[in-house]
């Protein structure tokens, strides 16, 4: 998050150099989860080519995370950086909303 201190928090002006660190919480191979994974991968390739890190966590495997990370609705994508941290839930099928959630310019 402190990689780019120049960028003020909650800035709508998107900086094309930012590295996006994303974490996706899924629940095994449920339809929503598999859809979310494929949708997100496609999205990242389209909009954030080469400047994202995606970590996928299966909550079934680590149930303790659910409590510590306040997980309720799944699948959930957390944008760790750049700041501000944002949470997106759903299967990432609504690309406009994903763009908005990740603070990326609309299509």
């Amino acid at each position: 998050m402190t990689e780019h201190p120049k960028v003020p928090a909650a800035d709508n002006n998107f900086n094309s150099d930012d590295l996006y660190r994303l974490r996706l919480y899924v629940t095994g191979a449920t339809p929503n989860s598999t859809r979310a994974i494929s949708n997100l991968k496609e999205f990242c390739e389209n909009f954030l080519p080469g400047r994202y890190e995606l970590e996928i966590i299966d909550v079934y495997q680590q149930p303790l995370i659910a409590e510590s990370e306040q997980l309720i609705a799944l699948p959930m994508l957390v944008k760790l950086s750049p700041a501000p941290q944002r949470r997106l839930i759903g299967d990432m099928s609504d690309i406009d909303k994903v763009l908005r959630g990740l603070n990326l310019p609309a299509r």
């Binding site: 306040q70 309720i72 799944l74 944002r86 997106l88 759903g90 609504d94």
Partner: protein, 581 residues
Amino acid sequence: MAKESKKNKKTIHHTQIPKTPTGITGLDEITGGGLPAARPTLICGEAGCGKTLISLEFIVKGATEFNEPGVFMAFEEKAEELSMNVGSLGFNLEQMQKDKKLKIDYVHIDRSEIEETGEYDLDGLFIRLNHAIDSIGAKRVVLDTIENLFAGLTNQAILRAEIRRLFQWLKEKGVTAIVTGEKGEGASLTRQGLEEYVSDCVILLDHRVINQISTRRLRIVKYRGSMHGTNEYPFLIDEDGISVLPVTSLQLEKEVSSERVSTGIPALDKMLGGKGFFKGGSVLVSGTAGTGKTSIAACFANDICSKGKKCMYFAFEESPSQIVRNMRSINVDLKKHMENGLLQFQASRPTLHGLEQHLVAIHKVIKKFRPDAVVLDPITNLITVGSVSDVKSMLIRLIDFLQEEQITVLFTALSLNNIVNEQTDEGVSSLVDAWILVRDIEFNGERNRGMYIMKSRGMKHSNQVREFVITDKGIDLVDVYLGPDGVLTGSAREAQILQEQTGKVLRNNAMSMKDREILRKRKILEAKIASLQSEFESAEEELNKIYIEEELVKKVTDGNRDEMLKRRGGGEEVAGKNGKK
């Protein structure tokens, strides 16, 4: 009661549905054993009506009393806040969490942080809950308040489907769950219609403020597959947690005693068939202001304590020391009983709390002190905190409770009018076993007290109005004087008695004069009778004399004729001699 109904049902049906006791005072009685086991129960009500506390107590009691660990999933308050809030009730949540008897999971959801990008489900919640349940082997789960999800997430269709799935899952998991919900607008029980998903047991809590005094109530809206009380039951939150008061037992099957308890006033005992009240009975003493109701109550309490029994005195008007001081003036020493621990005062202003709280307070101290008799002085003051019907229902429950405990109770009630036919005092006169009425009798420029027994069930009792005198020796009853002008009391009675005494002397005097007259008359008559008798004797003698004279004359004449014949001739003399022979 619950047991009995269980037995009855067993004969008809196979079994009653299994239940999980809540451990909350009174609630298990109303529900006939607790909440439906392994099913979700909905507790709904307005904000601040005690939903969270009831559900938390369910979890805590489960962990402490029934060895059933529980998970509390809080959507509103953080775990620390919860522990702090219930710390005053003596629940140490932190310690219990350490002992793995309890788990609190705070679920935070904030719409502003979340973007919804398509289909999702609540698997995160399921996983958390599942983990929490499994980690401590929980048997009980509380979701407080699941409706908060609707504030954090927008897709209603998903949420509803997921909540339905959650309840189904909880059933499969075999945990007894409480789901709380805020009361919705209009007739709906909850804002999001949770009652549609929870179909087994719904409990509605209510918090009403009437005349600036609040009362909490609880009602079981439905309980599938089980008998349950259907009334609104008041409940209380105090330092021991929640207590529900199912005091109106559905049956009237109390044990009764034919043992008698003296009233403390010998003359009143005499009016009540010579022995006094029934033990475990209820007595109402009503009257206008200053008629001596408290004095009667104090006499009763004094007598109970003098016999070494315990008495509890609830004073709603005067402070204990005031009562003790005042009663000393009529030779009733309550202080020594207080020192002996036989008499306990509970003085509180009626407005201190609502009726129900009074009832619970009374319950509690009675359960603790275990008295043989209870005095409530006066019940009329309770009206300041509730309507007549409220007071009545409270007193019904109180009487019920006391009868069950075989405690004799004496109420005093202030009546505001002097008319005798005043139907009731707080409507309890039909409930009580004995009703003593003390009233003013104003006559001839002074006020006196009259007392009579309006009713006394199951015993012979006097129908007489007695004058009731309070002296520095104590209380006594005197017969009122029925003079030619009606009932006389006080000095009029004394005057009438004096007047009658004078009259008696005069009459006695007159009587003796008449007696002497008669004596004299008798003497005169007797004298007359004697003179008449002698008159008669002399007349009789006269008549006798004539008769004797005639005899004598006849004799003499006969003798003379014989002489004459003799002298006339011899032959004739022989013949005469022969004839004579």
